[in-house]
Amino acid sequence: MKQIIIILIALLFLAACHNEEITITNNVSDHFYIKNGLNSSMVRVNGNAASKIFLLYIHGGPGGDGFSYRNSYVENNIENRYAAVYYDQRNSGSSQGANNIEELTLENMVDDIEKLITVLKYRYGNDIEIFMLAHSFGGLLSSGFMTTNDNQQLLKGWIYVDGAHDYPMNDSLTRVHLINAGNEQITLGKKVTEWQEIVDYCNAHPNNFNFKESMKYNSMAWKAMSYLKDKSSTNGNDDDELAIAIIEDKIPTTAYALNIQANAVFAEKLIHASYSDYLHKVTLPTLVIYGKNDFVCPLELGEALFSSISSTDKEFVLSDISGHSPMDDDRENFYNHVIRFIEEHTEL
């Protein structure tokens, strides 16, 4: 048995000793890891790396994943033009690690992104241009990244989508939206019991939200959007695409599920997280896109960010038919704006 174990260990070491050959084509499908502290984050790069333009997704959550932003539309309309970088933040998605709960902080996550950009330049060339597309919690994280050191100089542009750069402000705005929509729907006689319950909760919990209240507002925001769903145009095939990704072995299912659970602890630390006082440091060209029907991160949050940053080259786009995810609810319009923004700002 001793020999068998030795052979097994030797085989595993051989399998683990990668000597990856990096090729830069218009159709790459790469994956690699970045180890920082006790975490190893998975990064997938798909598409046209030869273009030298990289679209880096900073996913939501905390505890979401990068790869869920990939779908057939992105494959056919983004990856044919640019390289898409699907990055799993620490303790999220396919990221692996040992006992690292103490390291799960926004500061370390910002440091992770700095290191990711260094690796992207090492692999694909110092002359690549990187555009960051941040969504939801990714908006908070990317705000931290943009306002730390000279990080924004590492990028060509910032695409900020239904982001949450200020959690307390976010909760207050969600509450206002819930009350307004609730009263309107009650007047119209639609789902009166459900809306009345929401409005009553909002009236009973007006400010200084604790973690439990913040989570409650978040869950009511999702409920409210589902009640109003007929106002949104969704593509409706995301579940299929996720199922296909699992079947095609692109998603380690249990790790994804358990990392979401683990991030519940982290979410509690974020209750007072805000970068509002630092956003004036941002001078990078910025495209802000919000869904008009987003209760999770209401559009006034985007307007506040838009007016706070010092960028002279900035644009605000409102999707009338979207909720929290314009990249899904209003896909073609959303990516047309993304492509236009990139084309206007690339020097390649």
């Binding site: 097994l8 683990a16 000793c17 994956h31 890891y33 190893s40 709960i101 072995d249 358990l258 990392n259």
Partner: protein
């Protein structure tokens, strides 16, 4: 804790060497669709032949065994990790006169993952380097149950075939724990 678990495993292995009756197990060990293999070594600790009279008056005869087992296994999850783990534990087995048996086996052990992909890391001065054999040690709890057929009960064949479903739990893993189901299909050979 990992050192203690390794020590525990080593003591178990020594005990197995000294014991009388032994089984060597070899199995295909897949985690969902991810292939792997497992070898194990079993030593019976206690064996009891039990006769019970049912309410209907029928006799129920079976053998109840406790076996000490040490195991080494791995699976390969493409693009994610290779996981090598060693465990030791007790198997509770009940064998019918026909040769069919059922077993339940809790095991403790340690796992070492080898991440499947180039890993970049940075030294103390923030210089980029490639980290070979990147991975992590985890304490492991495995709980499994299964059934099989012992050919030695009715025939002079010192072999048993079995199948088993295990749940591996690694803790601490990131901010929490990690679960992984594995499926075994294998044979066990009686050495003595």
């Amino acid at each position: 804790m990992i050192k203690n678990l390794l020590l525990f495993g080593a003591v178990m292995a020594l005990f197995c060497m000294k014991a009388n009756a032994q089984n060597l197990k070899l199995s295909y060990n897949s985690s969902l669709i991810y292939p792997g293999a497992k070898v194990g070594y079993e030593v019976p600790l206690t064996t009891k032949n039990i006769e019970k009279i049912k309410r209907s008056g029928k006799k129920k005869i079976f053998t109840r065994e406790k076996l000490l087992s040490v195991n080494a296994a791995f699976y390969h999850h493409k693009n994610y990790h290779d996981n090598l783990y060693v465990t030791a534990g007790i198997s509770f087995r009940r064998t019918k006169p026909s040769g069919f048996f059922f077993e339940f086996s809790p095991e403790l052990g340690v796992s070492r993952t080898f991440i499947d992909g180039t890993t970049y890391t940075f030294d103390d001065t923030d210089v980029l380097k490639i980290h070979k054999t990147n991975g992590y040690f985890y304490p492991l709890l495995s709980v499994g149950g299964g059934f099989g057929y012992d050919f030695s009960v009715k025939k002079e064949l010192p072999v048993a075939a079995f199948t088993k479903l295990n749940i591996l739990t690694s803790y601490p893993y990131n901010s929490g724990f990690y679960l992984r189901p594995t499926f075994e299909l294998g044979i066990s050979y009686k050495l003595k």
